[in-house]
Symmetry: C2
Subunit: 331 residues, 2 copies
Amino acid sequence: MIRSNQRPVLAVDLGGTKIIAAVVVPDGKVISRSYCLTLAEEGPKAVIERLLSAVSEALVGAELKNSEIAGVGMAAAGIIDAKKGVITTSPNLPGWHDVPLRDVIAERIGLATYLVNDASAAALGEHRFGAGKGLGNLIYLTVSTGIGGGIIIDGRLYTGTDGCAGEIGHMTIEAHGPQCNCGNFGCLEALASGSAMTREAVRRMGQGEPSSIAELARGRLMDVTAEMIAVVARQGDKMACEIVADAANYLGIGLANLVNIFNPEVIVIGGGVSSMGNMLLGPARKVVKERAFKLPLRTVRIIRARLGSNAEMMGAAVYVFDQQLAKRRKT
Amino acid sequence: MIRSNQRPVLAVDLGGTKIIAAVVVPDGKVISRSYCLTLAEEGPKAVIERLLSAVSEALVGAELKNSEIAGVGMAAAGIIDAKKGVITTSPNLPGWHDVPLRDVIAERIGLATYLVNDASAAALGEHRFGAGKGLGNLIYLTVSTGIGGGIIIDGRLYTGTDGCAGEIGHMTIEAHGPQCNCGNFGCLEALASGSAMTREAVRRMGQGEPSSIAELARGRLMDVTAEMIAVVARQGDKMACEIVADAANYLGIGLANLVNIFNPEVIVIGGGVSSMGNMLLGPARKVVKERAFKLPLRTVRIIRARLGSNAEMMGAAVYVFDQQLAKRRKT
């Protein structure tokens, strides 16, 4: 028999590209895992059905029934109203406006269900099982198509008054900079994300500037990705190197802001673009040294995430464990 | 007889201009208060003696002996290493580098002594006794010669790993902006503080641009203050109005960043420059509305501080009460 405080949870990462569902036990072991494509363009209803299928598959894989599960944790991109369990808007899930995902899933599965922003979840995952294990004050930054953030204060996730704190990617660092997807101008995301780099590459190639990115993309500007930019930057392509250097500079400015504001022990950087590694993080760390105060600089380590694409899902599991622990303590 | 958890504390605000010392009881009542000029240019040794005199005077005023005091709380401007009780560097106290103020005062007074950044202290003061009473998540911003910040998370002061968190004034919001006193570029402080406004006024008058600020300052550019700019802006002086509008715009950008990062219930704005009131805060609030996410915007109130120049001193008192309460709970 499984004791109630050792029961596994269902953890879901609802991303713009794919949905991961897994059964996870409190020590972090993943018993089973399934995934499917999100196909976000088909709208909330179809996506929710696919999410439920992935969840069922994970349950079958773990040879468990609903009643043996302690709860469901879901991580999703977007501005999440945690009190109401609603995705108010999401850059990766077009057409999702004020979707009460938590209650919809809770009703269908019949278990206590939680919804948390994906970068907040990843912060929790990295803090409990990844690069920031056991630390008190941790900032997590995911640099991929967009830039998201998660905040751990005194060992606990901080999600703010409504549950939408941590939008570090939408911190303006260049007041007169380019417009961001969020409508604001000069956000960190508009200057240092994967989409910022591709936007810049496309703009410059559109003006006739030569770059071997063009060959990789077979001349189709719409197909340029941050990965392509990374590949040719490694080969010394001038334009790609400049674009990565600019992004690294802005990333460093954003990180310096975090160092001055939070005085954290560690900043953990995950997300697809962070796999550029030292090509991006080396110059960014140098900028932090030039811009932040000496005292918090002496403390902070800026390191890469460890859980890869499992961070959000693992964090969603941790979120359920923590919520239920808090509930047990209250009663 | 006074019970140990009701004993008053000595609270000190060590500012660049003046030192306030007071005896404060846990319900926030100030029993006695004394102050003197800092005369910071005379260096740490002389200032510390004046601080001790102010403390003695406050004790005499309260008709209390050292032994009847629970502890000493000191708020000071600068980058403070809270673990070590050291002012590592301070913009308002020239020549203060790595001064172990906490231990020096503790030894001289013979009481448990605490040192905290002045804006963090003001955040605590406003949270306990001022504009943010009883709220969970509060950001305090002091806009005066410089810009400082304090962070209240879930009802508790957050000072970071070394005790120097909250340097919101040194968040870059214009990557290619003017250099700040801290060495960094485009900090909020370099764009929206009193010194940013006077720098701009002096620069423009130096280029021959007309403004009635010149009359107020009797032609001496060195004597221009933010107050003068406010006075003539109220009278419709074109240059002064533009300078205040620019500062308000940048202040709004900084506030929008705080809304997106912290999703706070309230942002409390204190400091001398904030007494410009709606001339500054009106346009700043408008910028926040344009730039921040809708969900946290719906929640946040951006309001003026209530404790005026007592906020730091009151917060230093709260800091002692809280530290000693935590200590009692541990034992």
